[in-house]
């Protein structure tokens, strides 16, 4: 006769034990918490109330010093992801330390912000899946776009601007801008003087920051365009984008004024694997001063703004193929 017993089968006890250990572990890791302090607000974003309300609701958890963590954000391991997003988000863009940016940079960050929203890159999709209240609706987006559009003004250039452009032009015309030693950015990429002999693949009028731009492609890039092999772009393809200040004359034509900068993207999926397969560099003024100085992290800025174009190999420009 078998004896009656209250004891559960062996495997059930084992499962219970494992669950218990896992739960204990889960409780333990709750104490492994990176600190997410809310540092003081040095100077908050200034914008009309309706605009600010949208940004506060959708962006402030990661891009301000007023992070408002919900209970479910505080559960490890979710919390680890949240903390790292906040750390990185604040480092790249902080609406609570808005006063630390020059007015032109504030404007630039706002246009970039709205473009990141349009591209569906911000607020981070994984975040809005849980924090549904942070979603930016079509109506919200219209409010933001209208606000930016209201900041666009175009008027004929004043004499100071014209004179500055003229001075620079004469300097260049007499070939005095030629640099003897090629300046090099912190990531090792040097200014490439030959870009001006490359073919233009497109032009843009940027009314967000009052510049005109020409995008040049080197021979490899142009050949790839001709042969329909730009998805992805082949190694060795280089773009040079030149920006000038806009110079509007009285007849309504807007010319290229002062040269501002030339930027390069050099494709090499191995050498530049850590920066989306592209080498990035920007050189400012005819003196070709490397942007970012000695800080190699300047490329983060380039990459963040180009990131929504990942499906297009991080390239914004749609080349014009003749």
């Amino acid at each position: 006769m078998a004896m009656k017993t209250n004891r559960k089968p062996m495997y059930q006890r084992k499962a219970f034990l494992i669950i218990l250990i896992l739960f204990a572990g889960f409780l333990c890791i709750q104490f492994v918490r990176p600190d997410v302090p809310n540092p003081p607000v040095t100077g908050d974003l200034e914008a009309p109330a309706d605009v600010k309300a949208i940004i506060q609701r959708a962006c402030y958890d990661c891009h301000s010093n007023n992070t408002n963590l919900r209970w479910y954000d505080k559960i490890v391991p979710i919390y680890w992801g949240v903390a790292s997003h906040i750390k990185q988000g604040r480092a790249d863009l902080n609406f609570s330390e808005w006063n630390k940016l020059a007015p032109a940079d504030q404007k630039g960050k706002l246009w970039e912000s709205v473009n990141q929203i349009i591209a569906g890159a911000m607020p981070l999709p994984g975040y809005t899946a849980v924090h549904t209240g942070a979603k930016v609706s079509a109506a919200d987006l219209a409010v933001l776009k209208n606000y930016l559009a209201s900041m666009v003004h175009s008027k004929p250039a004043d004499t100071a601007v014209i004179n500055a452009a003229d001075r620079q032009y004469q300097y260049w015309q007499k070939n005095k801008t030629a640099v003897s030693k090629l300046p090099t950015a912190a990531n090792g990429i040097s200014y490439i003087p030959d870009y001006k002999n490359w073919q233009p693949i497109s032009t843009t009028e940027r009314f967000d920051n009052n510049t005109l731009r020409v995008i040049f492609g080197n021979d490899i890039a142009v050949k790839a365009i001709k042969e329909n092999k730009i998805h992805p772009w082949p190694n060795g393809a280089i773009f040079a984008k030149v920006a000038w200040a806009q110079l509007q004359d009285k007849d309504g034509t807007t010319h290229t004024g002062e040269f501002k900068q030339v930027e390069y993207m050099i494709k090499d999926d191995k050498k530049y694997a850590s920066t989306y397969g592209w080498g990035w560099a920007r050189f400012k003024t005819p003196k070709m001063v490397p942007y970012g100085g000695s800080n190699v992290m300047f490329t983060t800025e380039c990459m963040n703004c180009h990131k929504p174009m990942a499906a297009e190999d991080f390239v914004f420009t749609q080349p014009i193929k003749h």
Binding site: P200, T204, E205, D208, I230, Q248
Partner: protein, 158 residues
């Protein structure tokens, strides 16, 4: 196992559907010029680029090496064998960047070619209009256009 595979299949289908939602438009096909013996941009360099906000047009002035050199010298004298080509497009909003305008349908291609004829230099002007690059027959106003194009100051390209 079978269930796992079909789950995997469904997932990949879902991903494919997602990426299909946003078709990747690689080229600016609207702004492309048709290939035609009437103009040739090969080997030409950028002299300058400008926009007209009232008309909503964007233009790029190209030139061969001689033309570029003359333009930088202010086109004080016109030499032989210079080629200037001014391409003017309508503008369109840039789908990739709110805050930018890029070229759209081509409006005109104006070609200036200089040739030596005896002791002087002859300046030939042609205007090609629209997507089909129709040669403009009416020659009035040509000298104004030549003056306008040769009067463009090159962009600073250091």
């Amino acid at each position: 196992m079978k269930a796992l595979y079909s789950l995997f299949a469904v997932c990949s289908l879902m991903f494919a559907a997602c990426s299909d939602n946003k078709p990747v438009e690689l080229y600016n096909t609207k702004a492309a010029l048709p290939s035609s013996p009437k103009y040739n941009l090969d080997g030409l360099k950028v002299i300058t680029s400008f926009v007209n906000k009232t008309k909503g047009t964007a233009s790029t002035l190209y030139g061969n090496d001689l033309a570029l050199k003359s333009a930088i010298d202010g086109n004080k004298t016109v030499g032989a064998n210079e080629v200037f080509t001014l391409v003017t497009w309508k503008q369109q909003d840039d789908d990739h960047w709110f805050g930018a305008k890029i070229p759209s349908n081509v409006e005109s291609v104006e070609v200036i070619k200089t040739t030596s004829s005896g002791n002087s230099v002859a300046v030939n002007y042609q205007q090609l209009n629209g997507k089909s690059l129709d040669l403009k027959a009416d020659t009035s106003g040509q000298s104004e256009r030549i003056k306008y194009i040769l009067g463009q100051k090159p962009s600073v390209l250091p």
